[in-house]
């Protein structure tokens, strides 16, 4: 199992958030990519879109299934990972780094505090697997 970066925060829907200042980079966790299997298409949001915590904002498709990606925090999208258009498998290969999905300018940075720490998340997926 890939390590869950200590500095990230995690949602119960299996997204991660990497905060720097007012910006947050978002992706799906190693656990989520393993559950999905081979990712073959990512329906990316657009720069300028507004996303709301708890609402779906992107779709990740594997060979076998379709999954919504839920916004862990609210804000306006300032960057999307265009590499995923041609290489959706980056989500499998590097879920916590090169497989990032988008970056938002947070409208309510306090939402980050609602998210789990790496240790909390690891414990929660362990109990989900059992």
């Amino acid at each position: 199992m890939a390590a869950y970066p200590q500095e990230y925060r995690y949602s119960k829907e299996h997204e991660w958030v990497k905060v720097s200042g007012n910006k947050a980079r978002i992706g799906i966790t190693d656990y989520a990519q393993q559950e999905l299997g081979d990712v073959v298409f990512v329906d990316l949001p657009s720069v300028g879109d507004t996303i709301t915590a708890g609402q779906p904002f992107a779709v990740v498709e594997s060979v076998k299934s379709v999954s919504d990606v839920y916004a862990p925090v609210s804000g306006e999208i300032v960057a999307v990972n265009d590499h995923l258009s041609d290489s959706p498998e980056l989500i499998n290969q590097s879920p916590h780094d090169e497989g990032w999905i988008c970056e938002v300018e947070m409208s309510n940075p306090a939402e980050v505090d609602e998210l789990m720490t790496a240790d909390e998340y690891q414990a929660s997926v362990k109990s989900e697997a059992e």
Binding site: D38, V40, F41, D43, S62, V63, V66
Partner: protein, 393 residues
């Protein structure tokens, strides 16, 4: 059978390029034996099993009187038992019924003349439904057009059809390297070169007795091994160990689905159900009108004359979207049909689907769209199979 072992893409690619092994033990199996049972079986299906030679197999549909598909099945007429080789224990009900055991063979080692024996393989989900359907047919409880009844159709079927699903396990080895791998661990009672597509032979995997059939549902060359359930894990491990150096991998339901979708092979509950006819599904080749009365014949003759209202087509997406089952299919923005299966085709690296559309929209090259998450995505009707098959019907 799990959805996947290592990953659907890898498993799919292994079957197309090298080999994969599938545990299909969940499938249902029934035995039919003797002339009466053979006549009954033939009357209950669209194809013509009575014409099968010993050791030959055929694909068929069981239809309702209205021509809807109750199930799609494979019928194996069992080969003659070899003189010395033990048969799988799942054949014991045949011996118990006095049908044919090695000690009862004629001088040439055949099943007693006039005693055709069939193994009928059905979809797991339809096992009980099929058994009830056959029972209702045999008891005359299904009302039929007079022309579809069998003259003298008073069936004394004895124990047949006998559900042996719990005794029979099915392991499939599929892919261009399947024969080479299987030959390294198995023997059969005919020369391997003479075992053609849709034929079978008795044989053994190491010491495990098996019906070795050159059949499958992937579009690749390969075999299905019908062995005793109690020995299936040994057979599975034997094939894996023998095949790993050649790149064989265990393959799951996910790869089975992408492989059969690329071939436009129907999956019951998706392309086929009781509201769909074999003609709409492009299975005209398994409907034998000339063989005499069978259940569904009148309705199918009528539909063939009138022309089918809709047809199963293969769709290839023109963008990167991935259709799934039950998506709306549109022509010029108007809904004309619905997908029955869909997904990512590993061979084409594109989204593909199977869909029913009116005949006017069925020609190859027709431009359509598929609604995926409230958006229309461009698609084209493609020649099927969507990939070049490595086997020939």
């Amino acid at each position: 059978m799990p959805v996947q072992y290592q990953g659907i893409l890898q498993e799919h690619e292994a079957v197309r390029q090298r080999a994969g092994v599938f545990d299909l033990s969940h499938m249902g199996e029934f035995l039919f034996a003797g002339e009466t049972a053979a006549r009954f079986l033939s009357w209950s299906v669209t194809n013509d099993p009575v014409r099968l030679h010993r050791g030959q197999a055929q694909y068929a549909c069981i239809c309702t009187p209205a021509g809807g598909v109750v199930d799609d099945i494979v019928i194996y007429r069992l080969p003659d038992p070899p003189a010395t080789q033990p048969l799988p224990a799942w054949t014991r009900p045949l011996a118990a019924a006095g049908i044919a055991v090695p000690t009862h063979q004629d001088s040439e080692g055949r099943w007693a003349e006039g005693e055709p024996v069939y193994l009928v393989v059905v979809n797991a989900a339809n096992r009980d439904k099929d058994a009830r359907w056959w029972q209702a047919l045999a008891l005359g409880k299904i009302s039929l057009p007079l022309d579809d009844t069998l003259p003298g159709g008073d069936f004394r079927l004895g124990p047949w059809p006998l559900d042996v699903s719990d005794q029979v396990a099915n392991v499939a080895i599929q892919g261009p390297k399947a024969e080479q791998i299987l030959r390294s661990v198995a023997t059969i009672s005919v020369p391997w070169e003479s075992l053609r597509y849709y034929w079978s032979s008795w044989g053994r995997v190491q010491d495990v007795p098996a019906l070795v059939a050159r059949t499958g549902y992937t579009g690749e060359d390969g075999f299905e091994l019908y062995v005793d359930s109690s020995l299936v894990s040994f057979v599975w491990e034997t094939l894996l160990a023998a095949g790993r150096p050649s790149g064989l991998v265990p393959a799951g339901l996910g790869a089975r689905d992408t492989l059969r979708t690329e071939m436009r092979y129907a999956l019951y509950g998706h392309e086929l159900d009781e509201s769909t006819t074999p003609l709409e599904a492009g299975l005209d080749w398994v409907v034998k009108y000339a063989k005499g009365p069978f259940v569904g014949r009148t309705a199918l003759v009528q539909q063939k004359r009138a022309g089918v209202p809709r047809q199963l087509v293969g769709l290839v997406m023109e963008d990167r979207s991935i259709p799934r089952a039950e998506n709306l299919v549109k022509a010029g923005g108007v809904v004309v049909g619905r997908t029955t299966s869909g997904g990512f085709s590993p061979s084409l690296a594109k989204g593909v689907a199977l869909a029913y559309v009116p005949v006017a929209y069925a020609p190859v090259g027709t431009f359509l769209s598929v609604e995926i998450r409230q958006q229309d995505h461009p698609a084209r009707v493609a020649k099927t199979p969507l990939v070049t098959p490595h086997i020939h019907h």
